[in-house]
């Protein structure tokens, strides 16, 4: 069917890339509302939000930021490798990226466990007496929703990268591995970028 629609394979690659960027735009906008809520509620409860940020584990948060940045590098390296037809380095790069993604999730789980033990849970389940102010509970609810939604995207990204690595390993089809990797890579980079913005808002701005 694609042979019928597209005049040449280049046109199809171009279309796939354009479609992916559109999709990434829509994925980014899924977070837009949360940034809007954060901005407004922070404007309303500036000191409670600052205290909330200060209570977050900046060590884990920063480590996670580095983890995602390095994983993003490895995904880009994987694409670079496949362009030079170096399948093995590509697979290894993707594998490392997946491991780093899993590391992110492990660190996140450790954090979440710490929070929940302290009673810092989302919404109606908030039971911490550390700071009874309403803005403080609101901060933690937003924190869980924002990082939770992001974590779901990390899971999706890991799934995509794993699938891509398997396809490269099998190498059976003469399909355009490059395009698949580029498109999958774009998704992972977006996951990285979203965290690049979440990190300062949730871990650094504690004043």
């Amino acid at each position: 069917m694609t042979e019928v629609i597209y005049s040449d394979p280049r046109q199809r690659t171009h279309a796939l890339h354009l479609g992916m960027w559109m999709f990434l735009g829509s994925e980014t906008l899924l977070f837009a509302g949360l940034f809007g809520l954060y901005a407004s509620y922070r404007a309303e409860f500036p000191s409670e939000f600052a205290v909330g940020v200060a209570h977050n584990n900046a060590l884990i948060g920063t480590a996670n930021t580095a983890v995602l940045i390095i994983s993003s590098f490895f995904v880009a390296w994987g694409v670079h490798s496949i362009r030079g037809s170096r399948r093995r380095p590509c697979m290894i790069s993707l594998g490392v990226a997946v491991l780093l993604g899993l590391t992110f999730l492990v660190l996140k789980s450790i954090e979440y466990t710490e929070h929940l033990r302290a009673g810092l849970a989302p919404g109606a389940h908030f039971s911490s007496t550390m700071l009874p102010a309403r803005g403080f509970a609101l901060f933690y609810t937003l924190y869980f929703v924002m990082t939770g939604l992001h974590a779901l995207h990390v899971v999706a990204g890991i799934t995509i990268l794993t699938w891509l690595a398997i396809r490269v390993r099998r190498g059976r089809t003469r399909r355009d591995h490059r395009t698949e990797l580029e498109l999958g890579g774009l998704y992972w980079h977006l996951v990285d970028i979203v965290w690049i913005f979440l990190w300062p808002l949730l871990y650094l701005t504690h004043r």
């Binding site: 629609i5 479609g19 829509s26 509620y41 919404g123």
Partner: protein
């Protein structure tokens, strides 16, 4: 040897359920949206029956609340938003740009099944107990009502995913698959309108997705993001909801405007007064539409700064709509007008859309909206645009493109009669509602003081005529499918590209490559301005 029409491909039912032919996907969507229109219409008729008397007529108050909620949800997300793009956009965009299909045909089929899934989830909510929040799901009621909010927000979320899939497909198709020589300025204006619509779909729908997720989670487990006692602000939900839902109304009207442009030019045998102005107006509506959402919240407790800014910005949208209306009207001048059914729907559209649009400018005036907000005045305003605008355009599209899609002609006599019934029935349904609202009757109310009854009775009578007109449409179109006269490739004498291929089109659309030197509005040797 002429190729077979797309209706026959020898694969039977699998050829429909697993089709990647954009025309068949359009037909599948046609059945989906038409059934949704009927369902939404049934809800409306029952609630209009209920409103015949000031107290209980046929249903309880809580059922009534569910009726208007279901009516809104089904009409907005299962009918209006997909209607023209998923049916006629799918069918005609590739043909209009000289392509054999959309950029991602499998994604197209998937978008239909995702639509079905979303519809099924939404209907599940209705079956297992219904929802009574209104289609706007305002917190804190939506997060605390005992009704089936979870199922509904999931269903609407999935419907939104379908919309995004379609939007991406159309944008990429129009960018990458235009045939050689078919530049942006040679595209039929219907394509431009679907393009503008698709941009809104892709960018705005995720915000709805998030707001519904938040309501769903809050309803099930408690989040408190919009609860005052947790420090949250219910108005914040309204911001998130309307940031999508206002552009959504442009998703609903822009495709209709695209249809109207095609109908006006074809049935006047005239190019549009100004092609460029119509393109600018379409993109302008899409852009400005994102800047105006706060006008739904004038009395919600927003800052006066926001009230002022949103009020002023809301006026700008009217400018672009007015440009379109003036351009269409001017296109009639010097044309050879054929008053067939689609053209009658255009006349109805002109009056109803202008009237409805002007009532929009009225409610955009915040000082006046203080009186009209949450009354029937607003209900009348948006139904004039949605029904008087979009539904009328949908009906125009059906009649205009019926010969092309089916290869048959329908009965003009029945077409004209039904159009008159639909337009007049509509007018008598909703004109009384402007009066009701202005007289103080709030929307969504089950019971009302006696003095409003006559207007409600008039409105319900109008709704019955409207419903009858629509039933007639279904009947004579079905009859035409079976025994209508055969239509040739171009029964209307149009210059547009879809009329230069056979009726019905073959599976791969073209027998010979499309000729870019022949523009879509080449009438009497006049090129478009």
């Amino acid at each position: 040897m002429t190729p077979e029409s797309f209706w026959r491909d020898g694969r039977g039912i699998r050829g429909w359920l697993l089709t990647t032919d954009h025309k068949r996907v359009g037909i599948l969507f046609f059945f989906g949206v038409t059934l949704s229109l009927v369902l939404g219409g049934v809800f409306a008729l029952v609630l209009r029956l209920e409103l015949l008397t000031p107290e209980r007529t046929i249903v309880s108050a809580s059922t009534y609340n569910q009726l208007f909620t279901h009516h809104g949800i089904v009409m907005v997300w299962m009918f209006m938003i997909p209607s023209i793009p998923a049916v006629f956009g799918n069918f005609f965009i590739p043909i209009m740009i000289g392509a054999k299909d959309v950029a991602f045909p499998k994604l197209n089929l998937a978008s239909f099944y995702v639509y079905l899934l979303g519809a099924a989830l939404t209907l599940t909510a209705l079956i297992v107990g219904g929802v009574d929040t209104g289609w706007t799901f305002y917190a804190p009621y939506s997060t605390s009502t005992p009704t089936q909010v979870g199922w509904v927000v999931l269903g609407v979320f999935v419907l939104g995913v379908s919309t995004i899939m379609s939007g991406i497909n159309f944008i990429v198709t129009i960018h990458t698959l235009r045939a050689k020589g078919i530049t942006w300025s040679k595209l039929p204006l219907f394509v431009w309108n679907i393009y503008a619509t698709s941009i809104i779909q892709v960018l705005a729908t995720p915000i709805l997705g998030l707001s519904l997720i938040l309501v769903g989670i809050d309803h099930a487990w408690g989040l408190g993001l919009f609860e005052a006692k947790e420090g949250g602000d219910p108005v914040m939900f309204q911001h998130l909801f309307w940031f999508y839902s206002h552009p959504a109304v442009y998703i609903m009207i822009l495709p209709g405007m695209g249809v109207i442009t095609e109908v006006v030019c074809t049935f006047c045998h005239n190019p549009p007064l100004s092609y460029r102005l119509l393109v600018i107006a379409s993109l302008g509506i899409a852009f400005v539409g994102f800047l105006t959402w706060g006008h739904h919240m004038f009395v919600a407790g927003m800052s006066t700064f926001d009230v002022g800014v949103f009020g002023a910005l809301s006026m700008f949208v009217a400018i672009f709509s007015a440009i379109k209306v003036f351009t269409w009207t001017a296109t009639l001048y010097g044309g050879r007008i054929n008053v067939a059914t689609p053209m009658l729907y255009f006349f109805g559209f002109s009056f109803l859309f202008v009237f409805g649009g002007m009532s929009g400018v009225a409610v955009a005036t915040s000082s006046l909206d203080v009186h009209w907000h949450d009354t029937y005045f607003v209900v009348a305003h948006f139904h004039f645009i949605m029904v008087g605008g979009t539904l009328t355009a949908f009906l125009a599209a059906i009649h205009y493109w019926f010969p092309k899609i089916t290869g048959r002609k329908y009965s003009e006599k029945w077409g004209l009669l039904s159009a008159v019934m639909v337009i007049l029935g509509f007018f008598f349904t909703f004109m009384p509602q402007f009066l009701l609202g202005n007289a103080g009757m709030p929307r969504r109310y089950y019971s009302y003081p006696d003095r409003y009854q006559w207007l409600h009775v008039l409105s319900t009578a109008g709704a019955s005529v409207l419903a009858l007109g629509l039933i007639f449409v279904v009947i004579y179109l079905t009859a035409a499918l079976i025994r209508g006269h055969r239509a040739g490739p171009n029964p209307w004498g149009s210059s547009a590209p879809e009329w230069r291929i056979p009726s019905p089109p073959p599976t791969h659309n073209f027998i010979a490559p499309p000729d870019p030197s022949h523009g879509p509005y080449d009438y009497n040797g006049k090129e478009h301005a």
